[in-house]
């Protein structure tokens, strides 16, 4: 029977096809190839929905489709491409293809209607970006995941630098590429190490590497651990791969590329932040959660990095003037929550936050895009104000996204963020005090999130218009409003798939996402199995805390933050209050001088080191080589003089040579004795 799984490769190939079409024929197509991209992503969405339905019937798919390198012999390492479709992948496929479709439609309004040039290049980039991310989502082994991970990075480079004639975007694109590349370097080492250790990089099924790792820990299997204890070695492997995650998901200290990536077109920012690039990192950890669950150290580091990033980025978002900058820092902060959730053993919670965040962050970016169209590409919030009456559709959808981001009940972000914090709290109280530090940072960040989100909303939409452009903004069309409405409704409602606090209060069964991820044909990839692993190997135990109490605490903090923003900025003529923060304001406004210290590392540490290495290379290595070559050059320049061109001399040399040979043979052969 031909089922959804037989068509699954087309989910990846359709956007790739649109990439080829836009690249080759975009010039001759209407709208620069946009319709090809829309059709392709719509096709992917339909197929993803079909796969989703098939998976929800209890099926799963884990097949190798193509072996591109196979060693000799039976028991050998194979490098393959394959598909792994389980509940997690099916969910992510839906998110990515839906957001990609809406971003394509929105681009009609943001790029085509604004008369941009180079549209075929733009739509080709979007198509490849979507295809790479979808390929990453369905990857069934770590190496394939790595390859698509890199493709995603390449596409972000191409799209962030779309306006390459200005000075900002190309350098932002280079920064994004290099910073994530720095993390990916560790990932690559990790992939090789996984192959060296387990001889396979498959995520699931017979002989998958998380399964072998588990067996190695309880003594049922032997693996090469290069002289380390298995626990230590698996932690090292996990941390190496985490390097790539930290780079892509913009976690501290490799987050600096993301705010600069705002130089790209706004729909691209929406795609990067909501569904593709940044989500890839968190998705990777969730994908191989069976491996991370074996190492409490790696989990603790993930949780701490996540919690710290959540707070750290949220504080920087408080003082920014540009609407997209605020959103950029909110993205870093929200991915910090997801990492905190994963590290705290909340696999479902983090996945849930990934789901809700994808919708509300795509919504916020597209909303910001609509505002930017209206403001004639002015992004400074202090030039806006009063847009509420002038663009009501944008306002109400943006408000829906903001409420979700701030975590106000009953919008999507509340349920997921609350669950992440709840997991950190119960596991922290249950005997892993390290997680409590992550929880505390996450909780403080809730307040800041509420504050900066509503500061942004009030400055943009409320009060009196502060410039002439804001008094008479540029209108937007259906292709902008349509995606906004779809996402606005989703941002308000998608949280209902998993309302644990309400379930605890009322006893009605409401945790559908838990059910979705808990079971499945591939039992090693289910949340249930991860729970057992966390308990057995990471020694996570849950304390008894009522989920609605934890939820009420974070809701109160979010409301307090929003309330403070209301008091300070929801006035007809708001003024900057940031100066009251004094030195802290400068610190936040300059992003804790992260860029400066990274530049300092580059120029004062790495550069002298590489100069030294260069000297060694030029002096010692090249010196030896040059010495050898100068000896042969000199010898050659002398010996070539026997080539006189006079035939008699050659004859003489021949004769001499023959005589010499005869003498040598004679002496050695004993003819003269």
């Amino acid at each position: 029977m031909v089922g959804a799984f037989d068509y699954a490769p087309a989910i990846v190939l359709l956007p790739f096809l649109s990439f080829l079409v836009a690249l080759a024929g975009g010039k001759y197509l209407p709208k620069g190839g946009a319709f090809g991209g829309i059709a392709a992503t719509a096709g992917s969405l339909v197929l993803s929905a079909w796969v989703f339905l098939t998976v929800s019937a209890g099926n799963a798919y884990n097949e190798t489709l193509y072996t591109w390198v196979a060693g000799a012999g039976e028991e050998t390492t194979r490098l393959t491409f394959g598909l792994l479709l389980d509940p997690l992948a099916a969910m992510m496929l839906l998110i990515v293809s839906l957001v990609a479709l809406l971003v394509h439609v929105f681009s009609l309004g943001y790029m085509n209607d604004e008369g941009e040039t180079g549209l075929p290049r733009y739509y080709a980039g979007l198509g490849l970006f979507t295809a790479s991310m979808l390929g990453f989502v369905v990857a069934d082994n770590l190496l394939m995941a790595f390859m698509f991970f890199e493709l995603v990075g390449l596409c972000s480079y191409l799209l962030i630098g779309f306006w390459f004639r200005d000075s900002g975007p190309p350098s932002a694109a280079k920064k994004a590429f290099l910073v994530t590349r720095f993390g990916d370097y560790f990932f690559l080492v990790g992939v090789v190490a996984v192959f060296a250790t387990f001889g396979t990089a498959k995520f699931a099924g017979e002989g998958a590497f998380p399964v072998i790792a588990e067996e190695a820990l309880n003594g049922a299997a032997e693996v090469t651990t290069f002289g380390f204890a298995p626990e230590t070695w698996f932690t090292i492997l996990g941390l190496l791969i985490l390097g790539g995650v930290i780079g892509k998901s913009a976690q501290f200290p490799l987050h600096t590329w993301l705010p600069d990536a705002m130089e790209g077109p706004t729909p691209v920012s929406a795609l990067i932040h909501a569904a593709t690039m940044v989500a890839a990192g968190v998705y990777l950890v969730a994908r191989m959660y069976g491996f991370y669950a074996l190492s409490p150290t790696a989990l603790g580091i993930i949780a701490l990095v996540g919690g710290f990033t959540a707070l750290f980025a949220a504080t920087m978002g408080v003082v920014k003037r540009e609407i997209k900058q605020v959103l950029a820092y909110s993205t870093i902060s929200q991915y910090g929550y997801m990492m905190l959730g994963l590290g705290a053993g909340g696999y479902v919670a983090a996945t849930f936050h990934l789901l809700t965040h994808a919708f509300f962050k795509a919504l916020l970016f597209l909303g910001a895009g609509a505002v930017i169209i209206a403001m004639h590409h002015d992004e400074d919030m202090w030039n806006m104000g009063g847009l509420k009456e002038r663009m009501p559709v944008t306002y109400y959808t943006f408000l829906s996204g903001s409420l979700a981001l701030a975590g106000i009940v009953p919008f999507a972000g509340f349920w997921s963020k609350d669950e992440v914090l709840y997991e950190a709290l119960v596991h922290g109280l249950g005997g892993s005090p390290l997680l409590l530090a992550g929880y505390a940072m996450g909780l403080v960040a809730v307040f800041f999130t509420g504050f900066y989100t509503f500061r942004m909303v009030f400055l943009t939409f409320h009060g009196e218009p502060r410039t002439d452009i804001a008094r008479d903004p540029h209108g937007v069309r259906w292709n902008v409003k349509g995606p906004l409405v779809v996402l606005g409704i989703l941002a308000a409602t998608v949280g209902f798939v998993n309302m644990v606090p309400v379930q605890d209060l009322t006893g009605i069964h409401l945790e559908f996402l838990h059910d979705w991820l808990a079971h499945g044909e591939l039992s090693a990839l289910t949340a249930e199995h991860y729970g057992e692993l966390l308990h057995d190997y990471a020694h996570y135990t849950s304390a008894e805390v009522a989920s609605y109490v934890a939820g009420a605490v974070s809701l109160a903090l979010a409301l307090a933050g929003a309330g403070l923003a209301h008091v300070l900025y929801n006035v007809p003529e708001p003024t900057e209050h940031t100066a009251k923060l004094g030195a802290v304001k400068d610190l936040w406004y300059n992003n804790y001088y992260q860029d400066e210290y990274q530049v300092w590392i580059a120029t004062s540490v790495v550069l002298p080191l590489s100069r030294l290495a260069d000297k060694f290379d030029q002096g010692v290595v090249d010196g030896v080589v040059n010495g050898v070559s100068s000896v042969s050059l000199f010898a050659g320049s002398r010996i070539r003089r026997i080539q006189t061109g006079v035939v008699s001399n050659y004859a003489a040399l021949l004769t001499l040579g023959l005589t010499a040979l005869l003498v040598v043979f004679g002496v050695l052969g004993g003819w003269f004795v």
């Binding site: 080539q643 006189t644 061109g645 006079v646 004859a651 003489a652 004769t655």
Partner: protein
């Protein structure tokens, strides 16, 4: 019957005369002649040993050598003609273009 050593001595003498000619002369025609001398020195050896062992193979070989020498002279004369056309002389020390 003349002992084979005499033939060998004769062959050596002829070869050395040829070699001497090649090493000391400048005239290309004398080169050719000297090469002929050296080839014939080898022929003398072949015939001498053939007679010594009572085996005609060596004599057959010397016939082949003569045919070869004729061919070689044809080629050699051709080269000398070109040499003359280019340098107006058959002096081998003039043609020194193929040097370092």
């Amino acid at each position: 019957m003349v002992p084979v050593q005499w033939y060998l001595l004769l062959g050596t003498a002829v070869f050395c005369i040829g070699l001497f000619g090649i090493l000391t002369r400048k005239n290309a025609l004398l080169f050719l002649m000297s090469v002929e001398l050296m080839l014939n020195a080898a022929n003398i050896n072949l015939v001498a040993f053939s007679a010594y062992w009572g085996n005609v193979t060596g004599q057959t070989f010397s016939l082949f050598t003569m045919a070869l020498a004729a061919a070689e002279v044809a080629v050699g004369i051709g080269i000398i003609l070109v040499l003359y056309r280019n340098f107006d002389d058959v002096d081998v020390t003039l043609a020194t273009g193929m040097r370092w």
